[in-house]
């Protein structure tokens, strides 16, 4: 587990810095009072800079048009509420980076601005938001709160443990004060920059703030979702047993004109929505309010689904690796008979898998090849003392790589137990030792694959692609015999691992695997 603050070279902007430089643009209270307002359009794009008084966003409420203007010069950092969405007064609309001559002044100007401009949304409460650790992080889950309501919190004190699609980290408080309310319970994923807790001297201020945001503290979150509408959050799929699907036998989709209009505007394929909540399963506009992606399943047409955060993260990572890391490949085929025999002997005693033997062999090999346990960090090559090996695991959601540390020091039985543990955890969605790996093993042998080449999982220096042990003719000393062989391909980062070294690595690995009882026992 690493702390957010320690990871300076990887996440140049930790949440603490973010919270200091950014302010939240809230929808102010207006007169006459309104219960909610809907964003009509944003007049500025993220990244655009504004002068004080520049219009930022247009909203409508009842019969009123509200033009929210920047209160100070700065840059629109991020839009939090899309057009068409409805918010209550006090709700956050955008993240804003005020322009200030000296960095230290933002804090004092922030403190002045809060009570003056926004009394009704809880000026005395300080919101604690889900941090964005890294550019690709979109949501996070509080695994465990380390503090409780009522505690006095110091700046830098660990508030909770946060899990993202990539990492688990300690979250340090960006502000000091009394923890009045925990808004997000343990285990519930929330988007970055969503409110997770509130600091306030008294509970009433915190509750006022929450009321202004249309939220409630964690204790009641389980029975009350913070949505403003009685319409089911998930849109159309509120099925009743007696209600037929929205698509008729003739293939016509039963939907109200308002639903059709909305679907056309948002690019929603009605036939993919399922039964609506109207009479006879008719799709109503309210069924579509929270669907903002396109789906389709009409005969032979493409099916569209939103790209999951995990898939997006995996994709970006691999793309970056393949485009920036100079891969080169070294392939060797081993005589697998001794390995398989050794595996049959060890299986009962150690509960190991064939893959564990390969992991073990790679670990022992890496012990002799420091370059393969090295990484490029900035202008330096950092050599790690032990071999931490990632094991690629395919899940329904995509590829994950849990890491087993110090493989070079582990005996087979402990390695087998540790591998089983981290893989099981990974399948449950909890990744161990993220970011600690030096080398990865990807084994597609169980699918009968003869050979393949893998993409390096940066910042690691190599990955070994392991194929199936297959029956083949083995030629030994000019004689042929029937046996089993396995092909393995090393993808190495040529910046760290030279060609000869890679070849020697594979030669050594082959030697270990072909003589396991001597090398691995």
């Amino acid at each position: 587990m690493r702390s957010v603050r320690e990871s300076g070279h990887r996440q140049p902007k930790g949440p603490a810095e973010l919270a200091k430089n950014m302010t939240l643009v809230n929808l102010p209270e207006v007169s006459p009072p309104i219960s909610s307002a809907t964003v009509v359009r944003w007049l500025k794009r993220p990244g655009e800079s504004l002068a004080a008084g520049d219009p930022l966003v247009e909203l409508e409420a009842d019969e009123m048009v509200i033009l929210v203007e920047a209160a100070a010069p700065g840059t629109l950092a991020e839009i939090l509420v899309k057009s068409g969405q409805t918010v209550r007064p006090g709700a956050g609309l955008a993240r804003f980076e005020p322009r200030s001559p000296q960095l230290g002044q933002t804090d004092s100007s922030k403190e002045k601005a809060v009570p003056a401009s926004n009394p009704a949304s809880g000026g005395k409460a300080i919101p604690i938001l889900m941090p964005q650790a890294g550019n690709t992080m979109e949501e996070g889950t509080v695994i465990a709160w380390r503090v409780k309501e009522g505690d006095q919190i110091a700046v830098g004190q660990i508030l909770c443990e946060i899990e993202t699609d990539k990492a688990t980290m300690d979250f340090e408080s960006p502000d000091a004060g009394r923890l009045a309310r925990i808004v997000v319970p343990e285990g519930e994923p929330v988007a970055v920059k969503e409110l997770i807790a509130l600091l306030a001297d008294n509970d009433a201020d915190a509750d006022d703030y929450l009321a202004g945001q249309g939220k409630s503290p964690a204790v009641s979150v389980s029975c009350q979702t913070p949505t403003t509408s009685p319409v089911p959050k998930n849109g159309a799929v509120q099925k009743r047993s007696t209600v037929p699907a929205a698509v008729t036998a003739e293939g016509r989709v039963k939907a109200s004109p308002a639903a059709r209009k909305l679907a056309a505007e948002r690019g929603i394929e009605l036939s993919a929505v399922g039964a609506g909540s109207g009479p006879g399963g008719r799709i109503l506009s309210s069924d579509l309010r929270n669907i903002d992606f396109a789906t389709s399943a009409e005969n032979g047409a493409e099916i569209r689904k939103p790209l999951s955060k995990m898939r997006r993260a995996i994709g970006l990572n691999l793309q970056q690796s393949k485009q920036t890391v100079p891969h080169f490949y070294v392939r060797t085929t081993i005589d697998a008979d001794p390995l398989l025999a050794f595996y049959r002997d060890q299986r009962a005693a150690t509960n190991c898998t064939l893959n564990d033997l390969i992991v073990l062999a790679v670990g022992r090999t890496i012990r002799e090849f420091p370059a393969v346990r090295s990484q490029i960090v900035g202008n330096e090559i950092v050599e790690y003392p032990h071999a931490n090996i990632g094991i690629a695991v395919g899940t329904d959601e995509g590829l994950v790589v849990p890491v087993v540390t110090d493989v070079d020091t582990l005996p087979l039985d402990r390695l087998a137990a540790e591998t089983k543990r981290v893989v099981d955890q990974a399948r449950k969605g909890r990744l161990e030792n993220i970011g600690k790996g030096h080398f990865t093993i990807s084994n597609l042998g169980m699918f009968g694959v003869e050979e393949f080449s893998a993409i390096i999982n940066p910042p690691e220096s190599g990955i070994l692609a392991v194929s199936a042990a297959r029956e083949s003719v083995i030629v030994e000393n000019g004689a042929m015999r029937a046996g089993r062989s396995m092909t393995m391909t090393l993808s190495a980062d040529h910046r760290i691992v030279a060609g000869v070294m890679a070849a020697k690595f594979m030669q050594r690995l082959k030697a270990i695997l072909e003589h396991p009882s001597g090398e691995l026992a």
Binding site: A113, G123, P127, S229
Partner: protein, 474 residues
């Protein structure tokens, strides 16, 4: 030996007669029991007679203001109450005959008498001469309607303290009329009677007239009523009523004692369920006597349905007819839920009409809404035809643009509401309403204009107020 039918309908009002015709159209052997006249309250004591009287009242109102139209009326303007009531009675007779011939055309058996349950599917019909006949049926639709409420403790002289049942058949007109209840019936009578020269006072317990409709409609009509000289006491109750020497003295909760020569009690209606022996069929009623039904209009007794005022879903004739069709279809083997937008129509002049949610109802659901309004007086047609009173008001869901409610007050509003009802029943987007071409010049253009206003894209009103406000930064 009892006569057996596939469907027995109890009550031949706008719900029952339509249900009987529908079931007959679907091939069922149907009988209808009616203790009084065909057509029920709507035809005999409600919608139709009141509209017959109102048409004369409106004509009289127009003629009295003929000079506004540049029309000269020679001589005194008056009316012939006998001729007016004769037209009303003739209209009623014609329509009753119409129902009878429709029954005949679809071979619906008519049973004149009073029905009471003996058990599920078993009904005894008592004829006027006291003789009884047992009728059995596979399915039963109860459509016995409602009756005006009388207030216990008030003088029980229907010639002086009346309900709408008597008022639509008054042989002569009062001079000073007290109307208790400012709902739809109270307002229609107030408007009608004021035209015939009656001094009208309305006493309403709630803070506005037309309390079941959108608040803006009632306040607009109140303004017009007061301009015409109709006295309206709101938030007021009649504490006590006494008859002395042909005059009625009423003491209001405000302390005022007022004297009238006739009273119309229009405080509501209660369902006709107490004499049906519903418990013997296993049919449950709620505390107020309304029969509980499920979405398919079926009661707690399988195969027994209720429609119209008896189930209390909506106390309107067209609601009863629509439910009649649904219940008949369900009795004939369908299992359709009844979901329909039910418009309300108030035949004052100007007319009031509404469909869908009121602003308050929409706010109570916590939906994000936007309101669009358009004054009817801004329309070319309204100006040219000198019918400038009233407005249209549309309620829009701000996120989905769906039309949630349409509220009209103005000339021909009850005709215009048909368009809005179709739009709400279809659950259209207000963009559809705005993109539809509405004939010019018409009063119905107000619907389009109010829809555009609700979307903030109207052209015939000044631009919306823009509130420029500095962002709150936390």
């Amino acid at each position: 030996m009892a006569d057996h039918y596939q469907l027995l309908v109890i009550g031949a009002g706008p719900g029952g007669y339509v249900a009987a015709l529908k079931a007959a159209q679907l091939g069922a052997r149907v009988a209808v029991v009616e203790k009084h006249h065909l057509g029920g309250t709507c035809l005999n004591y409600g919608c139709i007679p009141s509209k017959a009287l109102l048409s004369s009242a409106e004509m009289l109102h127009s003629v009295k203001h003929a000079d506004k139209w540049g029309v000269k009326i020679g001589g005194a303007v008056g009316f012939d109450w006998t001729a007016i009531t004769a037209h009303k009675d003739k209209t009623i007779r014609q329509l009753r005959g119409g129902i009878a011939s429709l029954f005949k055309g679809r071979a619906v058996t008519q049973l004149a008498g009073k029905a009471r349950f003996e058990g599920p599917g078993r009904v005894v019909v008592t004829v006027a001469d006291g003789s009884e006949q047992l009728v059995t049926a596979d399915k039963v639709i109860i459509a016995t309607g409602s009756a005006p409420m009388r207030i216990p403790g008030w003088p029980d002289d229907p010639a002086i303290v009346c309900t709408s049942d008597e008022a639509v058949h008054w042989a002569d007109l009062p001079k000073k009329l007290l109307i208790i209840g400012g709902g739809v019936i109270g307002c229609e009578f107030a408007c009608m009677m004021q035209s015939f020269g009656v001094e009208v006072t309305i006493v309403e317990m709630m803070s506005r007239i037309l309390p079941t409709l959108d608040a803006d409609l009632g306040s607009e009509l109140l303004k017009i009523f007061r301009q015409r000289g109709i006295v309206c006491h709101l938030d007021t109750k009649v504490e006590e009523m006494r008859i002395a020497g042909g005059a009625v003295t009423a003491r209001l909760s405000s302390g005022e004692p007022l004297s009238f020569d006739r009273v119309l009690v229009a405080t509501g209606r209660r369902p006709n369920t107490s004499e049906l022996g519903l418990d013997r069929a296993g049919i449950r009623v709620d505390g107020r006597g309304f029969v509980e039904v499920n979405e398919q209009l079926e009661t707690s007794a399988t195969g027994h349905y209720t429609i119209g005022d008896v189930n209390g879903l909506s106390m309107l004739a067209h609601a009863a007819s629509a439910q009649g069709v649904a219940a008949a279809e369900n009795a004939c083997g369908e299992a359709k839920p009844f979901h329909a937008a039910i418009p309300s129509a108030v035949y004052t002049f100007p007319e009031v009409a509404a469909v869908g949610m009121t602003e308050q109802q929409a706010r109570d659901t916590d939906m994000p809404i936007a309101i669009g309004r358009f004054p009817i007086g801004h329309l070319g047609k309204a100006m040219a035809a000198r019918h400038q009173e009233g407005f249209a008001k549309m309620i829009r869901h701000r996120e989905t643009n769906e039309l949630l409610g349409a509220h009209l007050i103005g000339h021909n509003a009850t005709e215009c509401i048909a368009a809005a009802t179709a739009l709400i029943q279809q659950r259209v987007s207000l963009r559809d309403v705005a993109e539809t071409v509405w004939a010019h010049p018409t009063i119905s253009e107000a619907i389009k204009e109010a829809a555009e206003d609700a979307l903030g894209i109207g052209l015939h009103l000044p631009p919306r107020k823009v509130l420029r406000i500095a962002a709150a930064m936390a």
